[in-house]
Symmetry: C2
């Protein structure tokens, strides 16, 4: 049993899900492969246009289009910067909104490691050196397995 449980009068069956579901709306913003991978690169510290395109492995036109969308959506900010003695350049940096997607990327990463084979890299907590994992907890701090989750009306 891997399903979550639906409670009360709530009934996503019938259609609210398609339009209002926050997963669907999120995927409207970052639902493409290139968008996700560009964000990954941003977490890796990449800031420059050419590096984004090369490291993600996408063409420059695609990188330009996707980066502009991410900037328009407020996940990245584009700003000029200038090192002394150099000419001005552009850099892309994660906003708070963009950085808040990190748990989702970590969750995807750890699923890939577990089910598609190890990749030779891992995330660690700087303070203690232990691996970092994305996990579900309730506000009381209890770990929550899938089958203990209810989907309920908010408020």
């Amino acid at each position: 049993m891997h399903e979550i449980r639906l409670t009360g009068a709530l009934d996503p069956r019938g259609g609210w899900a398609a339009a209002a579901c926050p997963i669907g709306r999120t995927l409207e913003v970052v639902g493409t492969r290139s968008a996700m991978l560009l964000l990954r690169e941003a977490f890796y510290g990449t800031t420059r246009f050419d590096d984004f395109a090369e490291r993600v492995g996408i063409s420059q036109p695609v990188a330009a289009a996707r980066l502009r969308e991410l900037v328009d959506e407020g996940l990245l900010e584009r700003e000029p910067y200038q090192e002394p003695g150099q000419r001005a350049r552009m850099q892309y940096r994660l906003t708070d909104k963009g950085a808040d997607l990190f748990p989702a990327l970590v969750a995807l990463m750890q699923w890939g490691q577990r089910w598609l084979g190890p990749s030779g890299v891992e995330l660690r907590h700087r303070d203690c050196g232990q691996p970092v994992r994305a996990e579900l907890r309730c506000a009381d701090g209890h770990p929550v397995p899938v089958d203990e989750v209810d989907l309920a009306t908010a408020g």
Copy 2:
């Protein structure tokens, strides 16, 4: 500062990321909008073909193609079942591999709630009634903010 830190000899800049990155490989499997939403429906307890297509809001041909891919990849299993007095039907159920994507979906859902506006539903822990969240913790149980994460070679 929202970047993670790269340690040691590791240097994803230059190309390992594109091919070996577990995020990229994961997105090869569930990187389409329809795949993600079908999995969401599976977590909601949907099991039948027509319901998947209707609730996700995709056409039947697309639902058929995507479901078959998810079955082929081992995230769903397709099996006939029969209620007494009824004719045989097909159902799709999450495997352990599929169910293990739940933290990723929760992370996407909570990002949508926070940055794109509330949706009127939320996930709660059945035992205590508290909201459920996807968060990053190290193996010692410490919550880990983005800027305390290192990307290191595994092992």
